[in-house]
Amino acid sequence: MIDSVLAILSAVMLGLGGFFMVSGAIGLLRFPDFYSRMHAASMTDTLGSYLVVGGLMLTAGWGLPLFKLALILVFIFFTSPTAGHALAKSAQHCDLRLPGGGASTKKADNEISGSAQGPDSRDVVSADRV
């Protein structure tokens, strides 16, 4: 009884996870500028990954594989925002100071004045620690 409920639940989670990841990849291809693509990519990294790993955890049963999957989940949970923030910050310092074109140009002056504070890598380092 419990087994079949778990199997159905894990199938649903795996299917939903696959759906969210494919939508993220579609967004990665379709969105017009770098920062929008980053939102699509963060979708595959958050809910897509959680659902897939969670679905696998439900089928794993008690034991070491469950622990390792949980470790992978925790690791993805903590590193994906750090990598995303590092990517955005690095893009800000290099050539993509603004999301080029599109609706965001009206904020252009605001952003340039904001990003002119020089490179500062401390934020990336401290984001690592949480």
Binding site: F20, S36, L47, T82, H85, A88, S104
Partner: protein, 170 residues
């Protein structure tokens, strides 16, 4: 995190080192799966080495292991998970509708949090919810890029900030 009071700082140091030893040992035991004396010795040596290096780097403190917040952090992450699900559904809808459904904006959101830890948790949570990304974290404000106007407006309302602020209240 370095306080003037040396004695208290030392005790807190020992506390956090102990936490680190426990966490690292659990990771070693969980990942190894072999419990022969030789491998357990290797485990003890590695844990000791990592704790020694960590203390030398002065990263063994309440910032790297916020255990004093653990219960509240769990509740907070539960709430955050619900936000993540909601914003995932929004962004997925945008992805299928195509580029016309989105209106990327960026702007500065004021951040009145005081300690480094809560500011990093706040910035991390913003990045973790799809649809908003922290681009930089300065004194008193965060530069956020959002996929739609509503995402930025929601951050400006300050519900997430309020919850992060309540994490560290006594």
């Amino acid at each position: 995190m370095k306080t003037d009071n040396r004695g208290r700082a030392d005790r807190a140091d020992a506390h956090y080192s102990l936490y680190l030893v426990v966490v690292l040992s659990v990771i070693w035991l969980g990942n190894s799966g072999h419990y022969s004396p030789l491998l357990l010795t290797f485990g003890v040596v590695s844990v000791a080495l990592v704790v020694w290096i960590g203390r030398r780097m002065q990263v063994v403190d309440g910032e790297s292991q916020p255990f004093h917040l653990s219960l509240r952090l769990l509740a907070y992450y539960g709430w955050l998970l619900r936000k993540i699900v909601e914003s995932n559904i929004k962004v997925a809808a945008c992805a299928w509708k195509g580029p016309r459904a989105i209106s990327p904006v960026s702007g500065r959101v004021p951040c009145r949090l005081e300690s480094d830890l809560s500011r990093v948790i706040y910035a991390n949570s913003i990045t973790l919810t799809p649809g908003t990304v922290t681009v930089s974290l300065d004194d008193g404000e965060v530069l956020v890029h959002a996929l739609t106007e509503s995402g930025l407006a929601e951050l400006r309302e300050g519900e997430m900030e309020g919850r992060v602020a309540r994490l560290e209240q006594p």
